[in-house]
Symmetry: C2
Subunit: 490 residues, 2 copies
């Protein structure tokens, strides 16, 4: 996958990385939509591609397949032997081949499908220029020194790993890749290779924070701080505090597939070092300020499109413009026009506030806002408090219909190992009421062994919303509490 980020564009083609955790049906939809001509696939994912090919309509020719053999895998089976392998393809290559330079720097380099897209896939097209700018920007923003050792916990199929395949090449980095990302493999890789940098969604931070002592004991005692860049959701304060104590220095940013990578960075001020731990965590959970190649970030009123006051309270839609905003969605002019409007701004669909010091803070994806008795409740804010509870492993808050209020917050929780049975729904609600306005506290708490996740590790809120809807409305009076079966998997 790393080599593909160079070889594919250098051959004049466009790279479309596909999430290997998708099902065959979705893969078939994406292959059709993208019109891919050639598929590189490793042995472990070959069956998925075969299944996807079978689902392609007869008029759609299946792409050519090149199998990438992993020397650590079992020897190739009879079937693979009949296919072209990556290594055999390379052997037929011309060492004097002159790489195909883009005619314009605005030519496409990658196509990235956003998640949750089986019905109408949204294919984000990015150009050479955008990925160049953002790759450089993050080297500056993160002060990446020459020859870092970078651990891939973030997948390269996830927004091209936030453009770090290219960034690591600029600084001559070593790339450490894992077949499986678990606390044990991550800690072992850090210890073995002297990892200096890694990126990951907060779910990875959470994994690092709650690793067993056995997994963690691999770390050398005098280990240098590992730089961690996180994004995709605000890191819960409690998780931040924990991983920083374990030897990780966390940077935090915000971006979307449509912006090629994170484009807002919670740039840290030295004077904040002196603040109490909880205050530092609160500041670090803010998304931050624009990075150089983003011309502007703003929060606007959805109706008037005018900037909301910079008061840290008034919510609005987060809008962006600058060097790494996508060219558009492939084969979807309507969606492109809805996203990049006639005023030249990209409308993210995310809800945020602008603080007086110019730092952006995300409040919610628009659809995740809970509107209860006329009040907007940010599910992220409620989750942040829930993560502070000592027994909580993961938390997700969605709207549940409410007889009186229209909607009310409903919390889905998984507990830490050994914490099951030690805490009740009422405890959780009481915990929240002590820490936030009463109307914001969940009226329903559901315990689960695990929360449902997308293939990229994001909690599937739409699944939880469906469950909450099926529960029916909460009634007047005392809150409803539900203890879900500990064994229910979703």
């Amino acid at each position: 996958m790393y080599e593909m980020h160079f070889g594919v564009p250098m051959s004049g083609a466009v790279l479309n990385t596909i999430n290997t955790r998708l099902d065959a049906r979705t893969v078939a939809v994406l292959l059709q939509h993208s019109g891919s001509k050639l598929v590189f696939v490793d042995q472990t994912t070959l069956q998925l591609i075969r299944d996807a090919f079978r689902l392609l309509p007869s008029e759609h020719p299946a792409p050519h397949v090149i199998v990438v053999e992993d020397p650590h895998d079992a020897p190739p089976n009879a079937e693979t032997l009949t296919l072209t392998t990556y290594e055999r393809l390379l052997e037929t290559g011309d060492p004097d081949f002159e790489w195909v330079r883009p005619v314009s720097e605005w030519d496409p380099i990658v196509l990235n499908y956003t998640s949750g897209t089986t019905s109408s896939p949204k294919g984000v097209v990015q150009c050479h220029r955008a990925t160049y700018l953002i790759a450089l920007d993050w080297l500056v923003e993160w002060t990446v020194p020459p020859r870092p050792t970078y651990l891939w916990t973030l997948s390269m199929f996830h927004g091209n790993g936030w453009c770090f395949p290219w960034g690591m090449a600029v600084v001559g980095g070593a790339n450490v890749c894992l077949t499986r990302v678990t606390a044990a493999t991550v800690y072992a890789a850090i210890a073995r290779h002297g990892v200096t940098h890694l990126c990951g969604a907060p779910v990875v931070l959470n994994m690092l924070a709650h690793a067993s002592d056995a997994a963690r004991k691999a770390l050398p005692p005098g280990m240098k701080k590992v730089q961690v860049l996180t994004g995709g959701a605000p890191p819960p304060a409690a998780v931040l505090q924990r991983v920083e104590k374990l030897g990780f220095e966390v940077s935090h940013g915000y971006g979307l597939t449509e912006t090629a990578a994170l484009v807002v960075s919670c740039s840290w001020k030295p004077e904040w070092d002196e603040l109490p731990e909880s205050e530092r965590a609160r500041l670090k959970a803010r998304q931050g300020v624009r990075i150089p190649s983003l011309a502007e970030v703003d929060v606007v009123d959805a109706e008037t499109r005018r900037s909301v006051p910079r008061d840290g309270v008034t919510t609005g839609e987060i809008v962006l413009r600058g060097g790494s905003v996508m060219l558009g969605y492939l084969h979807d002019e309507e969606a492109t026009r809805a996203a990049i409007r006639d005023d030249g701004w990209f409308y993210t669909g995310d809800v945020g506030v602008m603080h007086p010091d110019g730092y952006l803070e995300i409040r919610d994806r628009s659809k995740d806002v809970i509107i209860s008795a006329g009040e907007n409740i940010s599910s992220v804010e409620v989750e942040s408090v829930l993560y502070g509870h000592p027994a909580v492993n993961e938390a997700a808050v969605v709207a549940r219909p409410d007889e009186l209020r229209g909607e009310a917050p409903c919390a889905f929780l998984s507990l830490k190992d050994g914490a099951a049975g030690t805490v009740t729904a009422s405890d959780i609600i009481a915990w929240c009421r002590e820490r936030m306005p009463r109307y914001m506290a969940p009226r329903t708490v559901v315990f689960r062994a695990e929360l449902p996740k997308t293939s990229t590790g994001k909690i599937q809120k739409y699944v939880l919303r469906n469950i909450a809807n099926e529960m029916g409305p909460t009634r007047r009076g005392t809150p409803t509490t539900t203890n879900g079966s500990g064994s229910s998997k979703m």
Copy 2:
């Protein structure tokens, strides 16, 4: 000057910084050529501008003048009071003024005259895009952390201080400026402000290396290494060794006014740390490899325009192309076409070799090559050996006519304090012959109290070439040695 780098482009104008050490005649030529409408000048340089204005032809309207008052200067005199001052201008400003964004990123942002240009000034025009790219690149290449403290020993009028005015703003740097750059003021500023980074030509390194103990004693004992970026000429190995011992970490690059800043960097490999000191200095004196925004660097045969072998020996002209090559010379299409040729490459006029590991090493400016008995002699190589001599302060080697060989190397030297009289021309020639092929060793050695310099601190080789020519040809037989009067100033 720092504020001008932002205010001028943000008002929609183009910034042309003028070297304050130029004479009135040259300043008048530049003002005419550029068609400047407005001149910002500080009180100490006001007389220079007045003199220049008097030399403008009557049909050329003198630009409007804004005086920048320095609070440390004497109180403004009666004359200044009648002029608009910068502070008074700012008071009339509109706080709601919306800054003028360039229509295209290819719009010009700066005009920089290359040195030695009174007869036909060469005005290099750079665009927003180029300066943006190079400013970002050097933050990456030099691993500049957030909030550095940057000392201005390099003038901002010298190629816009290699674009660091903008770069420092990106990382929130503090800018420390000096009225006079001397060893004492530089060491004092480092100690007082905790300087982390500075740029300077090798002449600055030399100044730091040979500072008196009194000047150096300001440095705190546990001072963190100061990062120094040098370019403009290869740093002599002996000077490099000395300043690194004094607490400076030197990075080295190569560029021209036409490329906005340094575009080739002697990217350091950790394995080189283990080499002997002299070998490390030799490697660090090489110019290096391209930085990200430079698409390509090559050394080509002047006739065939084809790449020379990467053998570290075959010389050719250094050619460049990429993101920060100038738009062209102002009002001079012919010079522009001669520099940026129909093949899309910028021809630097500098002579270099390409090493097998892809590192560029400059051998000479084309006109500085000495051709002796059919052999090309790099004056830089000879100077490098001369700098290694313990008594030598500064060295410059030029061609002197030679009866037998056509040309022969002639060395001009200034000696370190107290070294006058301790070394003879024969000693110097013997020193060189021990360390290089005989044909390369100087046949003439001239001692001077000081070597002639341009206003930007470069040694004026053309002055020395004239002197060497006037000496007449060296004759067959033993080398000619000349001990110049220690008091002659040039």
